[in-house]
Symmetry: C2
Subunit: 189 residues, 2 copies
């Protein structure tokens, strides 16, 4: 039972109905943008990282030589795919059912953590590659591979904009799920 | 206006009221446990990492030599402090107001991301310290500092249990906020 049913039980007025419709319509637009934006961002970050390799007179360095960057590529790929599928489902199935709301909520939360974790570990590796660590004799790889580090930094920065979109979409899917959940509690009386 | 008001508008029955009270009481207990558990976990992870240092014939290694581990210590300290304050406020102020619900929601989300990020970067550094990276000539520090790595692994593992608690408490605070938010929309009619 959704909120519309609750309103029928409680009585209704056209103005408030219109206000709620406007509010829902605004949220749908925000949701559509926030679900489609990460598709572009994640693919951009993924392609940038995939093409990131540099060869100098001593050695050759590619994203695949660093586990954190491989994880970033995979996470961006998964998130781009999920965002596209979720955007299509969200656009086609309105209003969303309880099971859809739970599915969106679950995957939005999990993928937010996944992409945040990927961004965090990639940032850490970039920091170590830039500064190095004298105590454990880790050299500053960015001294020799400056171009590689610049491209990787751009990819990580784009990933963090996608993280922001995911954090917002998680809030929206929580709202959509829990406002639905409240209705049966109030209307079962 | 909270859910109780919605029920008054819609009519009510004692059984459903009792069911809702039981449900709310269960959620409060879960919330109390999930807010107090990270205090213990974060302090344990923090102390374990703070005391983590090893000296061999070649060098000395402490948590403070690695930025990721320093970040883990800070994040655990912040989360332990916040969880304690939040548990006290949540226990004393019942029912929580709208502004308190927003505050809990905001800080629960931010600190979940903070502690997840700290756990992720510390795991990445542990992985690099264990495996090393031949391409960029990073040695396996854990070969020389096995004891240090073991303690750090334990600290990170405890941090991830705290992350799990935070993920769950974020869901609870989202539920508490958004079910409150739905009430005015339905009852203003």
């Amino acid at each position: 039972m959704d909120n519309t049913d609750t309103m029928i039980h409680c009585g209704g007025g056209e103005t408030s109905q219109r206000q709620e419709d406007d509010s829902k319509s605004g949220m749908r637009s925000a949701e559509a943008i926030l679900r489609l934006l990460p598709v572009i961002l994640c693919i951009a970050a993924l392609v940038l990282m995939l093409k990131d390799s540099e060869t100098n007179e001593l050695a050759s360095l590619s994203y695949s030589n660093l586990g954190a960057f491989k994880y970033l590529v995979h996470a961006n790929g998964i998130c781009a795919g999920y965002s596209l599928i979720a955007a299509i489902i969200a656009a086609l199935h309105r209003p969303i059912t309880m099971s859809q709301a739970w599915t969106f909520f679950f995957f939005d939360q999990v993928l937010t953590y996944l992409i945040l974790g990927a961004g965090a570990v990639a940032t850490q590796v970039l920091y170590l590659a830039d500064k190095g660590d004298k105590t454990i004799t880790w050299s500053s790889a960015c001294v020799s591979f400056g171009g590689f580090c610049h491209k990787a930094t751009a990819s990580v920065a784009i990933t963090f904009i996608a993280v922001l979109c995911y954090a917002l979409i998680s809030i929206i899917s929580s709202y959509q799920l829990f406002t639905k959940y409240d209705a049966p509690l109030s209307t079962n009386l």
